[in-house]
C-alpha cells in the first residue's frame, strides 16, 4: 500500500479502556466503564455490534475468559486507530502491562523491586538485573499475528529496545562483578555488559521471531536513548546487535532528550530507516525546539523523521492548523517533505481515550491540510 505524503502513525501505547481493565480484574463493570463502552460502541460500530455490551457482562463467557477479553481490547484499539484515520496502526499495546514491565517479565535474570517515580504521580515497576539475561520465549509474536490478521492498514510493531530496558533497570548482576570504587568508568562497563546481553540474548531472538511471523516494519522504542549523552555508542550498539542479519525494516523512537547529544553517533544505527522523535513538547511560539531537526540536514542524513506533533502530556487538543504548521516547518527544515511522518510525541496512554481521539483527529486533519498546502 502506498502511503500519502506526511503519513500518519501512532507511536505506541494507548490508554486501556475501562471495561478491559475492570474485566481483566474480574470486576463487575462500573457505571463509568459501561458508559465508556456505550459511547465507543456508537462511535465505532464496526468493532462493536448490538449485543456486545451484554457480551461483556460478568456472566458472559467473554468477560470470564481473559484471552478473549484481551483479543477484544486489542481489536478495539486497532479499530480505534484505524477509525481515527491513521495510515499505520497497531493495537495500542492493549495486551502489554506497559513497555518495560511486559518484556522484562518474559526474561530471566531480573527481579522486580517496586515502583519508582517517573514524574509527578506517574510511576513504573522497576526491576534489578540479578543474574545473566535470558529469554523465556520470544514475545509479542501472538499479539502481532492477531493484529496482522485483523488490520486493514499497514502495521508497525513497537518493541522496547535493549538500551532502554537496561537503563530502566538497576544493574546489580553485572555491577557486582566489578568490586572497588564503582565510578563512572566501572558503571559504564557494567552497563555495556547488560545492554549487549539484552540485545543479543533477548531482543534479537524476539525480533527474529517477529520477522519470521511476517512483521516487516518494527519500531525499536528507545525513550531512554538520550538519557546519557556519552552513551550514544551503546544505544547504537544495542540497535545494531538487536537487528543484525534480520530481514525487514527497522525504525527507532527516542523522546524527551537533548537530540544534539546523540549526533552524529546516532547515524551509525545503519539499519534504522526512520527516527520518530518528540517535538510538540518542546515547541513554543518561537519554535526553538524545532531547530534540532536541522541536525539531520546538517549531517546530510536522508532518513525519514517521524515528527512528534501532538503533546502527550497535555489535555489541550492541538488544532489542525497547528499540526499543519509543524509538519510544513519540519519539511522546510529537512528540505524534503517526503521524509516527514506525522505522529504523537510518544504513546498517548497518558491521555483519556476521548482526548487521544480528538488529538489523533487533529493529527490526521493537520496532515491532510499540509498535503493540500504542498499540492
Amino acid at each position: 500500500m502506498t502511503l500519502p505524503l506526511f503519513p500518519t502513525q501512532e507511536v505506541g501505547s494507548l490508554r486501556k479502556p475501562l471495561w478491559l481493565v475492570e474485566g481483566l480484574r474480574g470486576q463487575t463493570l462500573s457505571r463509568a466503564a459501561k458508559e465508556e463502552l456505550r459511547r465507543w460502541t456508537r462511535a465505532l460500530p464496526t468493532v462493536f455490534q448490538e449485543g456486545d455490551l451484554a457480551g461483556l457482562s460478568p456472566e458472559s463467557p467473554v468477560s470470564r475468559d481473559p484471552q478473549r477479553l484481551r483479543d477484544r481490547g486489542a481489536l478495539f484499539l486497532l479499530r480505534y486507530l484505524e477509525a481515527a484515520g491513521l495510515d499505520r496502526v497497531y493495537d495500542g499495546e492493549a495486551r502489554r502491562v506497559e513497555m518495560y514491565e511486559y518484556p522484562i517479565r518474559q526474561m530471566e535474570g531480573f527481579r522486580f523491586l517496586g515502583h519508582v517515580r517517573s514524574f509527578d504521580n506517574k510511576y513504573y515497576l522497576k526491576a534489578a538485573s540479578v543474574g545473566p539475561v535470558g529469554l523465556k520465549a520470544p514475545y509479542h509474536v501472538d499479539e502481532f499475528r492477531f493484529v496482522k490478521e485483523h488490520a486493514h492498514r499497514p502495521v508497525k510493531v513497537p518493541v522496547t529496545g535493549a538500551y532502554t530496558l537496561a537503563d530502566w533497570s538497576w544493574n546489580e548482576h553485572y555491577l557486582k562483578r566489578r568490586p572497588g570504587w564503582r565510578g563512572p568508568r566501572v558503571r559504564r562497563a557494567a552497563q555495556r555488559d547488560l545492554v549487549v546481553a539484552l540485545a543479543r540474548d533477548a531482543l534479537r531472538p524476539t525480533l527474529k521471531a517477529l520477522t519470521d511471523a511476517g512483521a516487516d516494519l518494527l519500531q525499536i522504542d528507545e525513550p531512554a536513548g538520550g538519557t546519557h549523552p556519552g552513551e550514544t555508542d551503546l544505544l547504537v550498539e544495542a540497535f545494531n546487535e538487536s537487528t543484525r542479519g534480520l530481514p525487514g525494516r527497522f525504525v527507532m523512537h527516542v523522546c524527551y532528550s537533548d537530540y544534539r547529544s546523540l549526533f552524529p553517533g546516532l547515524l551509525e544505527a545503519r539499519r534504522c530507516s526512520q527516527f520518530l522523535l518528540e517535538f510538540a513538547n518542546r515547541d513554543s511560539p518561537e519554535h526553538p525546539g524545532f531547530e534540532d531537526l536541522k541536525l539531520f540536514a546538517e549531517h546530510n542524513d536522508g532518513r525519514e523523521v517521524g515528527v512528534g506533533v501532538l503533546d502527550v502530556h497535555q489535555d489541550r487538543v492541538e488544532t489542525a492548523p497547528e499540526v499543519e504548521d509543524r509538519l510544513l516547518r519540519a519539511a522546510r527544515i529537512l528540505k524534503d517533505p517526503t521524509k516527514v511522518y506525522a505522529n504523537p510525541d510518544c504513546g498517548l496512554r497518558t491521555r483519556s481515550l476521548d482526548v487521544a481521539w480528538a488529538k489523533l483527529g487533529a493529527l490526521v486533519e493537520g496532515a491532510r491540510r499540509a498535503r493540500k498546502a504542498l499540492a
Binding site: 523491586l113 517496586g114 515502583h115 519508582v116 517515580r117 517517573s118 514524574f119 509527578d120 504521580n121 510511576y123 522497576k126 534489578a128 537503563d167 530502566w168 538497576w170 544493574n171 546489580e172 555491577l175 557486582k176 572497588g180 570504587w181 564503582r182 565510578g183 563512572p184 558503571r187 531512554a224 538520550g226 538519557t227 546519557h228 549523552p229 524527551y256 532528550s257 537533548d258 513538547n281 518542546r282 518561537e286 502530556h313
Partner: protein, 343 residues
C-alpha cells in the same frame, strides 16, 4: 577527632501505599485528602526513622513534591512550570521554572508545601533542600533573555526571602542542591558573576549544616570556585568524584560526602564507606563530615533506599566509635542558628 554525621540530602522514595493512593487520586477514585493524610503519616514515619538512625537533621522525605522546583514554582509570583524535561541523566522528569517577572514570595511559602513533622524527641532540627542559584539559572527557561548571572541573582534573592520563614519553621539545615555546578560548571568569565549572585546567601547559609550539595558530576574541576561560595558545608558526589584524587578541601567547611549511589539498588558495602571516609578525613582534616546520599534517593524504591540508609547510619556509628582522627588543623565552629522542629 572529626565528628561524622549523616543525613538525607534530598527527597526519599514514596512508599508503595503512597504510590497507590496518589495514582487513585489522579484517576479521581480517591479524594486528595486521602493522599494528604498519607503524606503526613509517611513523613512522620520517615522522620522517626531519621531520628532512630541518629541523623543530624530530620526531613520527612519531602514526599509531596513532584520535583525540586515545583514547590518553589507554586509559591513564587511570576514563576511557572515549563515542559516536561529530563532530570539530568536519569529516567525522572521535572518541569523547569519559567521566569516572567520579578520573583516574589507567595504568602504560604514553601514550608507550607510539606506536612508539619511530629517533634523529634532527640531535638533534631529540620533539614530542607532547595535548588541552588546556578542550577536554577541553568535549568530555567529564560524567554526574557536575562542571562545566567541575573537569573542566579534573582534566585539567590528569592531564597533569601524564604529563609526567614524556613528558620521560623524549625529548619536548621538548608542545603542548596547544585548539580549544575558540576555537570555544567560556569566558565571562567561567569565565575565572578556567580560569586556576586550568591552574595545575598552569605547571611542565610550560617548554620553548620547549611551549604551547597553538588551531585551527578565530578567536583574536582570546580573545587576552587565551590570553596569560595557561601555556606559552612560543601557536599561532593563520591560516585563521580574519585576519592583518591581529592587532595584538598576548604578550611572551615563541613565536608559533605555523597557516599550512597541512588542509581543502583545494590546497597553500599560498609567497609568500603568506612575506609574511604577515614582516608579522606586523615588527608583533608575537616572538623566535621556529613555523609549522605550522593543525590536524592527517590530514584530507588523505599525498601532499597532504607537499606542504604541503614548502611549510612552504621558507617557514621563505626567512624565515630573508632575515633576518626583529623589532623590538628581545625576550623572554628560557628554558632548554629537552629530551631527545634515544631508543629
Amino acid at each position: 577527632m572529626t565528628e561524622v554525621l549523616a543525613g538525607l540530602t534530598g527527597p526519599f522514595p514514596r512508599s508503595e501505599a503512597l504510590v497507590e493512593v496518589t495514582r487513585r487520586v489522579d484517576r479521581g477514585l480517591e479524594p486528595p485528602a486521602s493522599a494528604e493524610r498519607l503524606y503526613r503519616s509517611e513523613a512522620d514515619r520517615i522522620a522517626r526513622r531519621e531520628a532512630e538512625l541518629k541523623f543530624a537533621f530530620v526531613t520527612g522525605g519531602f514526599l509531596p513534591w513532584p520535583d525540586l522546583f515545583r514547590p518553589w514554582i507554586e509559591q513564587t509570583e511570576n514563576l511557572d512550570a515549563g515542559p516536561l524535561s529530563r532530570w539530568f541523566q536519569t529516567n525522572t522528569f521535572y518541569r523547569p521554572p519559567r521566569v516572567s517577572g520579578p520573583l516574589t514570595r507567595r504568602p504560604r511559602g514553601v514550608l507550607g508545601t510539606l506536612p508539619p513533622l511530629d517533634p523529634d524527641p532527640g531535638g533534631r532540627p529540620r533539614g530542607w533542600v532547595a535548588p541552588g542559584p546556578w542550577t536554577f539559572a541553568r535549568l530555567c527557561e529564560d524567554p526574557g533573555g536575562k542571562g545566567t548571572e541575573r537569573l542566579s541573582r534573582l534566585w539567590a534573592d528569592r531564597l533569601a526571602q524564604e529563609a526567614t520563614a524556613l528558620r521560623a519553621g524549625g529548619v536548621g539545615s538548608l542545603l542548596l542542591l547544585e548539580p549544575s555546578l558540576v555537570t555544567d560548571p560556569p566558565g571562567p568569565a561567569e565565575r565572578e558573576g556567580l560569586r556576586r549572585a550568591y552574595r545575598p546567601l552569605e547571611r542565610v547559609l550560617t548554620g553548620p549544616e547549611d551549604g551547597i550539595w553538588t551531585f551527578f558530576g565530578d567536583a574536582l574541576p570546580v573545587l576552587p570556585l565551590l570553596s569560595r561560595l557561601p555556606g559552612n558545608l560543601l557536599g561532593l558526589d563520591l560516585t563521580e568524584t574519585e576519592p583518591r584524587r581529592l587532595k584538598a578541601f576548604p578550611r572551615g567547611k563541613t565536608l559533605g560526602l555523597g557516599v550512597l549511589d541512588p542509581r543502583t539498588s545494590l546497597p553500599e558495602e560498609l567497609p568500603e564507606i568506612v575506609s574511604t571516609v577515614r582516608a579522606l578525613v586523615r588527608r583533608l582534616s575537616p572538623s566535621r563530615v556529613l555523609m549522605g546520599p550522593a543525590a536524592s534517593l527517590d530514584l530507588l524504591t523505599g525498601e532499597a533506599a532504607d537499606k542504604k540508609l541503614t548502611v549510612l547510619a552504621r558507617a557514621a556509628e563505626v567512624l565515630n566509635a573508632s575515633g576518626t582522627r583529623a589532623s590538628p588543623r581545625r576550623a572554628p565552629r560557628r554558632a548554629p542558628a537552629v530551631r527545634r522542629v515544631r508543629r
